[in-house]
Amino acid sequence: MNWHATITLFGSVAIIFLTGLIASRNQSSDKSFIQDYYLGGRSLGGFVLAMTMTATYGSASSFIGGPGVAYNQGLGWVLLSVTQVATGYFTLMILGKKFAIITKRYNAVTMVDFLKERYQSKTVVVLSSISIVIFLFSAMAAQWIGGGRLIESLTGLSYHSALFIFVITVLIYVTFGGFRAVTLTDAIQGSIMFIGTLVLLIAVIIAGGGVPAIINELNNINPNLITPFGADGTLTPAYVSSYWVLVGVGVVALPQIAVRAMSYKNTRSFHRALTIGTIVVGVIMLNMHIIGAFARSILPGIEIGDKVMPEIALHVLPAWVAGIVLAAPLAAIMSTVDSLLLLVSSTIVKDIYINYINPQVNRKKVQKISMGITAILGIIVFLIAVNPPDLIIWLNLFAIGGLEAAFIWPIVLGLYWEKGNRFGALSSMLVGILSYVLLHSFYPDPFGMHVVVTSIVLSLIAYIGGSLIMKEQSL
């Protein structure tokens, strides 16, 4: 067991956790509980907004999985990963002021609220709630597992105790703190990620004897590692470019991101978030993946991709610094998990319970139910993560792309195209999800591109077709 790393890792996590609790104490009660718990009373400043976007988006895949792939594929995978810099500005600019103005007018708290008001259709609400709950629930379980594995490999605790510690921490502060606590902790976590990856990258470059030496070494191992085409030349320009859709512009449609684009205080914070977000996302993604690619020249022969980050950190840094730096990926996982947890909970409480089961519920009861649901959800996910069933792992494969294919047009065209209506939205969601799942299973990578591109094109056709053919008047 690595005591120094363990102590600093948990120390950092404890500081984050305390902030969450303190923030929850400061929650004002002049706004409605729902607005406050799920949206932080629409009061985010620029820095917090940028950081919470980054931290929510930069999940286990970008911090543990991504560098592992870069380790195997070389600079070509770094090229693929920097497409994510677009999320720093594109998401906010597209949803931007319009989303904030309109959701405020609708008094919308969740993405489903927006869809409900925009399309005035119960079917749209139910279908979108169900897809959010199913897809994000499985995405969350996968993050849970990633968090457990990270603690396990760094501290030497067993997977189950690692998972247990992880889950308890997240659950307590999400349950009691709500959105404001989550975004505040996100801001700290985002900062840790930013500084942590910078420190680690510098340490890696020093350990490798400078950039030219590292590149030279990679060239000796396999010259393809320093080309844009991946270790065995299989990363084609078309395939890599399609990631602009999957992890770049498509991110607009992820509910956990969209909800943040309606939570800021004023346009000044929005403008600051754009500037900060772009540089932070860009630097973090670039650093993380360069670290992964460079690690190959320093520690060749790591077989499990997920272990690249912890092992390289422990190798090039003093153990206690490694603990703090690795708090960054852990923080990333935690912040993804906490926002997903909150989102699934808000979908159930706000979009289903209050909309259809009990609209006359009072504030006290909503408060109890919200916290209760959040806690219960967390416990269920924990039980799943202890012994993950195949279904969850299968569903998680579809989570990001599936949600994008389902929601991108109902949101974007719902905002910018007045003729779009509920028929368009419904057919777009159905076509998006079905084509994504079917293509993914039976005909992967059509046209040499990631499945998500084809599904998004099909769902666009469905949205426009559905809206034009079934005019609202014909009802």
Binding site: V78, G96, I101, P212, N219, P237, L274
Partner: protein, 92 residues
């Protein structure tokens, strides 16, 4: 009165969304052009800048920095502050 004000905000919002699309297109062309323009040749013929292969340096490292600078400038120059509260709107 109120609708008129709302119209002016929506117009600004639409323009800024178009700027977002323009930026992402520029970003993509820069990224694609340097990566595959400089990186497709023979590895023996690669140029290196600060030790990085030139395609990587321009496409990824400079690409990220240039986007950060561009976003900063564009937000400062072209993005307009608008009020979100209806009361604040009425006062204008």
């Amino acid at each position: 009165m109120l609708t008129q004000h709302k119209d002016y905000r929506i117009k600004i919002a639409n323009r800024e969304a178009l700027i977002g699309i323009g930026l992402v297109l520029f970003n993509f062309i820069w990224w694609f052009g340097f990566a595959y323009g400089l990186g497709s040749g023979d590895i023996a013929g690669y140029d290196y800048i600060f030790g990085f292969p030139a395609w990587f340096f321009y496409s990824c490292i400079v690409g990220v920095l240039i986007m950060a600078v561009l976003v900063f400038i564009i937000v400062k120059k072209f993005f307009v502050e608008v009020p979100f509260d209806d009361e604040e709107l009425e006062k204008r």
